[in-house]
Subunit: 333 residues, 2 copies
Amino acid sequence: MEKQTITIYDVAREAAVSMATVSRVVNGNPNVKPATRKKVLEVIDRLDYRPNAVARGLASKRTTTVGVIIPDVSNAYFASLARGIDDVATMYKYNIILANSDGDDKKEINVLNTLLAKQVDGVIFMGHHLTEEVRGEFSRSKTPVVLAGSIDPDNQVGSVNIDYREAMKDATNALIASGNKKVAFISGSLLDPINGVSRLNGYKEALTENNITFTEGLVFESDYSYKAGLALKDRVLNSGATAAVAADDELSVGLLNSLTDSGVKVPDNFEIITSNNSLYTDMARPSVTSITQPLYDIGAVSMRLLTKLMNKEDIEEKSIILPYGLVKRGSTK
Amino acid sequence: MEKQTITIYDVAREAAVSMATVSRVVNGNPNVKPATRKKVLEVIDRLDYRPNAVARGLASKRTTTVGVIIPDVSNAYFASLARGIDDVATMYKYNIILANSDGDDKKEINVLNTLLAKQVDGVIFMGHHLTEEVRGEFSRSKTPVVLAGSIDPDNQVGSVNIDYREAMKDATNALIASGNKKVAFISGSLLDPINGVSRLNGYKEALTENNITFTEGLVFESDYSYKAGLALKDRVLNSGATAAVAADDELSVGLLNSLTDSGVKVPDNFEIITSNNSLYTDMARPSVTSITQPLYDIGAVSMRLLTKLMNKEDIEEKSIILPYGLVKRGSTK
DNA sequence: CTGTTAGCGCCTTCAA
DNA sequence: TTGAAGGCGCTAACAG
């Protein structure tokens, strides 16, 4: 037989009070006489009573769990965000349902729907782009949403990011300042606004400021992976580039290693600046100069923003921009 | 006002059938005449009805969500496991509530309790050790549990691992075979059975087979981090060791880099074999020879095992051991 | 193949 | 400060 689950009703009977009273002490409602509270608490302890959160969720319409849609937890960038999210969630007594989407539109929609079916109180979305369909679901649902490390061109939902455009501009300028005339721009899909709009524009602005003509041939659309970086070497060298700004660390280290392994000296003959300042940049030899992003904080602040939204608090600004930096390492002169 | 949530009752009314019938089509019960099924489906579509999973959970006593307790998602090793877990969970229509514990006993207990309060159908636990308290909760609860990449000395719950002892023995033997007389053993806390029992025993066995006397001075208890690896260099060199087997990749690369940076040639003057074959081992220069563990699979198989447990299927063997390997890279001769 | 009827365990007015 | 009663939205026998 199933172990008899003990309910609020059992506690009420044993303590000789009503369910309502038990409910009150369980939920910390102050309107209970200390004496009865104590009595109830004792019975709860004796019976080892555990409130059923599902029943509570049904009755109260709050589940204290939020959905987190992430492209891939095993990617260091997103994993850092996720850690920040969970820590703040825990702090505010929420749990997170984590779901990997691989950045795939269909999966995102599916996952979002099951999350909403499970009545999550809020959703944090990470992804390289937002399809119309996903945005449609967001706006038709009453559930608050925050984008973490992801751009929303329309700015309809909350979001937390750094200024990718400025950061990329700074990185490009730094490379130009050290004498590079041809700086390659390497990113993931340019269809993603974070690359095709924010970062690419920052890159172009730097060129313009330095009177350098933009060339399509120096733009490389790739994959956020170490392998993709390894594979990029020849194309990059053939383009005549003597430096590169890249949107991903694994990608950058891949490029760096294949360059080094084939005899190209970094930074003497080729310089690299990457974007995420993950552990990879520090481990590589030479280590990689990088834009620094407060990844953990982006996650943490996103979750904090979401708690406010769920709480229907007034929000000054739904689109939060966090500061970035640039840390110089061995891959630049 | 809140957007009026539409329920199974609304659909029943509009389709002129009973709630039971609607429930049947929603749940794919075959006992419904195709015509009525079609009719109901149309109404569902027209009303944009979404079943409420919380209510379903309360009524059916199944939430189709499992709890995953993880020390730290931003650690590459655990993140890989987590990805395997989520993929298989999705495959079987489950979602995962992910909770970071930092390997802290208190947090583990807390998290486990809220997970159980939320009526998860099962739990996957990852952690370096299992406290008595946690094991107590496991056994007193009816909820199935599987340990992923974690040892249970008592073997009371399901688990999926590799044979850490044999793997470490092989690695140590390889180092001895290439001429090293003094091989350092570097791991996390020796209080964790995976280190203090499995791995250390494998290391000792290798020594014994080669008539080498075990020395406490060659055992280094450290932290699973890059920094800890960097900090270990002097102590390791002072011990007279000419090689090391290590239990963690970040740790290993830290040691490797601080060795290289201070002029010690790897592998000529010092050899290293690490344990997890993460991307770090491939990115490092020289790259690091490693035991290969099917991390993703450990996660995936754990979740698969859990589905069987939740389904009350007969299990041949609750403790699954997956194969490991050894991949030679630049850190060994 | 379909409908009726009880709950699942808890919260939340509304009275007392 | 406490209790009674009515749901929350859905599933699960059990009839028919």
